[in-house]
Symmetry: C2
Subunit: 176 residues, 2 copies
DNA sequence: TATTGTTATACTCTATAACTATA
DNA sequence: TATAGTTATAGAGTATAACAATA
């Protein structure tokens, strides 16, 4: 069997010989939007493979990081922080708790250490924190992410990295 | 009610006053992978809104463009071109055909115009082409995309655009 | 045996709306 | 009335495996 490259086509000539043709991408080729998508997709897949070796998904990693960096965050706050509806977060948090990576506590009434005043106790909200096991998972994931970043850095080049990052942030902040 | 920014938290002070706190993103803040994802997500959403006003999704747009630029492409070739499994393409093509944007023909046996030899007829494959209606839809979508590109260009700046695009292509090509 | 495209099926991620329990 | 979180449900997009027709 004859091989072609990944996005190649094989056309048969009039004598039945194989002719490899490249796929034409037309205007997509020059558009930032399309190439942004392609780059993200490839980078995401690469990191996905890496982090799945230690049994986590990139989404879980981001969630875990946000909880670790914002101890006691509520689920609604967390859903805002990563731009998803709160209902989408329910099964994620459930899973992290079930696996012992995150701890979920109801806000409880109590007394402040200094003042004798009763502290508020909103019994609708949960406070989220990472457990020791969660911290450990996070350490491994962070190591993964740093390796991945090194690969990306090598591709981008030290000279352009800073500016590239700035532009990515600018797009996220300003587009529409 | 007091407002906070999109990713803000509200903590209550000891006197019950609202204290707005920013979410901390920790190392995510400085990682290319995370910011690449954020930028792509925002840009994609923006284009999605735009193209949905004319009843298409970004995915349909890419598929339609690939067919238009590669007339007679087969479904398997098409699935390679956008990096998805062929089975994922079946409902997409089905939908485009149903709505009259794409035409699907079996390869049929026939005679070449010049040679008298019988031409090959692989009756397993379909050849895909865009119809007149498909071309019309594509024209509108392309207009949309160009508007979207102008927004992105304005954010990126003329000076950095070329280099930015190069880096995106490099990431897609080289990562893992 | 290998390939093209379909089908059956399932999984992930996401959203909306209705609900509960609080506030 | 309003808010925090859950549940029920649905949709988009994807994949794997088995299959029929054809090569």
């Amino acid at each position: 069997m004859r091989k072609t490259n990944a996005s190649g086509r094989v056309r048969r000539g009039k004598n039945g010989e194989a002719i490899a043709e490249a796929i034409r991408f037309g205007p997509l080729e020059y558009w930032v939007g399309f190439n942004l998508r392609m780059a993200q997709e490839h980078a995401f897949q690469a990191f996905s493979r890496r982090s799945q070796e230690i049994g986590e998904s990139p989404g879980r990693f981001a969630t875990l990081t946000l909880i670790a960096r914002n101890p006691g965050i509520s689920q609604t706050e967390l859903s805002h922080a990563n731009g998803r509806d709160k209902s989408s977060l329910t099964p994620v948090v459930e899973d992290l708790v079930r696996r012992g990576l995150v701890e979920r506590k109801r806000m409880r009434a109590g007394r402040g250490l200094v003042e004798r005043k009763r502290m508020r106790a909103d019994r609708r909200t949960y406070r989220l924190n990472v457990t020791a096991a969660g911290k450990q998972a996070l350490t491994m994931l962070t190591r993964c992410a740093r390796q991945h970043e090194r690969v990306l850095d090598r591709i981008i080049g030290q000279r352009d990295r800073k500016r590239f990052l700035q532009i990515l942030k600018k797009i996220a902040a300003e587009v529409e």
